[in-house]
């Protein structure tokens, strides 16, 4: 029995380093393969586009929004967002502040019949539209909570979702304080505004900015002093949504009312 125990210990002493050696060997063999993988992952963006030279954001001039919903329509067309009125990458909210200081918020519908165009004006103190979308936070809570590393911030400042990795656990949907994410009913993965990343890298504007009839939306590069967004930031008093959450949003509002949450 004693003999057996001694053999066992000897065997283990031999065995553990042997495992280490095999592991080291495996690592040495795998290293070139990993290097090859690195080569393959060289930036696949459109030619001449370097994401490190850009950092995108959006400005919204609240006083110009007429609540026509052309941006929502364009976003749905460009990005195959489901037509149902509860799936949005961007949407427009209508705020009505009554004389008793109570606030009524409703999302402007796409179907005209369903819109309540006229509120009781006698009872209204002030009223306005607020376009909303993903804030592409510099400190995004949705990215922190993803358990499978399926959502991340790109170097040029967009927060994207990898549909192939997303497992549809909806944790990010819960974590977003702006309600900007939804679960796509067909892919069963989280979906959200991408700043129209596929357009932006080609030098086009996001679809919602492109079609806005009153130029209430301003898109631009925060790294370029000549961009419309930097000019917008220079010329206006800027506020962001829920600054107290330290999400550092990159959607900047001018003329934002204190009642907007």
């Amino acid at each position: 029995m004693d003999q057996d125990k001694r053999d066992l210990l000897k065997g283990l002493i031999l065995f553990i380093p042997a495992g280490g050696v095999i592991g080291a060997l495996a690592k040495a063999v795998a290293a070139p393969a990993a290097a090859a993988g690195k080569e393959a992952s060289a930036r696949p963006e459109t030619p001449g586009y370097d994401p490190t030279n850009h950092y995108y954001g959006m400005g919204i001039e609240v006083g110009k929004c007429i609540g026509c919903n052309r941006c929502v329509e364009a976003c749905k067309q460009e990005n195959d967002v489901p037509r149902e009125p509860f799936f949005f990458r961007t949407w427009v909210e209508r705020y009505v502040i009554k004389k008793d200081r109570s606030v009524v918020v409703e999302t402007v519908g796409l179907k005209k019949e369903k819109r309540k165009e006229v509120v009781d004006q006698e009872d209204t103190l002030r009223s306005f539209f607020i376009p909303k979308l993903c804030n592409h936070c510099a400190n995004p809570p949705c990215v922190q909570v993803c358990p499978v590393d399926a959502t991340w911030s790109t170097e040029d400042g967009a927060v994207l979702v990898d549909k192939n990795r997303c497992i549809g656990c909806r944790y990010c949907i819960q974590a977003c304080p702006y309600g900007a994410r939804y679960l796509h009913p067909e892919t069963r993965t989280a979906d959200k505004c991408t700043f129209c990343y596929h357009r932006v890298v080609k030098g086009l504007l996001p679809a919602c900015v492109e079609v806005c009839p009153t130029q209430a939306r301003i898109f631009g590069d925060l790294k370029s002093q000549a961009s419309r967004l930097v000019r917008f930031e220079r010329m206006n008093k800027i506020h962001v949504l829920k600054p107290d959450l330290n999400t550092q949003p990159k959607v900047y509002y001018s003329g934002l009312d204190g009642e907007v949450r």
Partner: protein, 242 residues
């Protein structure tokens, strides 16, 4: 040396584990475990998505004359695709794919229907009262949408006042009886405004007891509410109601 039975069994287990580790190392694709690889693939997929809105600058290449007209008018800030819809396919094959052109009456009110939440000064109408059933484009050119030369009636814009007046004792009076609208008012309504009566004497022309007008109710303009202007008590578009 005799290898004990339990060592042999244990080594089988360990060999299976090592073999499994090595196999997963080489069989599981890098696109699943290497962050750089799966990120790059995801960005590639994102960029490869179809562009449906062509963007404003490309339209000008063919539709120069429309652009010349549009850029001088009130719709200069609109992109072509705001009204015509996503047209990237049209830019690829202009003859086969024609962009959408909204001609029905229901399209323009998406922006121009009166809505109290819209910013002050944005041109708005009440579609049910504004020349009902006529398509907007019979009077307004969407590429240069000035109000047509003469809105035939003041009621085209001032529908609420017209409806109120129609029920009042002033129903038979023309708007021009009390207001003079310069012709320019019909093109730039906010900059050139119509006149309004300014003094008690204006109402007194009909309502003073010495007035030659026969049907109007008469008061003594010299003593009736002397310190006040008439419309501080009587709303001229509904004068029955004090």
């Amino acid at each position: 040396m005799r290898i004990p039975e339990q060592i042999r069994r244990l080594s089988v287990v360990v060999l299976i584990i090592v073999a499994g580790l090595l196999l997963t190392r080489y069989l599981v694709p890098a696109s699943l475990v290497k962050q750089r690889v799966y990120r790059a693939a995801s960005v590639k997929r994102e960029i490869a998505r179809e562009v449906r809105y062509a963007g404003g600058s490309i339209c000008i290449n063919c539709h120069e004359e429309v652009n010349e007209q549009k850029k001088k008018g009130y719709h200069k800030t609109l992109a072509c695709e705001t009204c015509h819809g996503p047209s990237a396919k049209h830019t690829e094959d202009p003859s086969a794919v024609k962009p959408f052109a909204p001609r029905e009456r229901k399209f323009c009110p998406l922006c121009h229907e009166y809505n109290p939440s819209r910013p002050t000064g944005f041109p708005q109408i009440t579609a049910t009262a504004h020349n009902p059933l006529k398509p907007c484009i019979t009077c307004h050119n969407p590429h240069d949408p000035v109000p047509p030369q003469v809105p035939r009636e003041c009621s085209a814009c001032h529908a609420e006042i017209a409806r109120t007046k129609a029920l009042s004792r002033h129903a038979l009076l023309e708007c021009t009886t009390c207001h003079t609208a310069p012709p320019k008012h019909k093109q730039i309504p906010r900059s050139v405004r119509p006149t309004k009566p300014e003094s008690r004497e204006f109402c007194a022309k009909c309502h003073d007891k010495g007035s030659p007008q026969k049907t109007a109710p008469k008061v003594d303009a010299a003593t009736h509410g002397e310190r006040y202007l008439c419309w501080e008590c009587h709303y001229p578009h509904m004068p029955g109601e004090a």
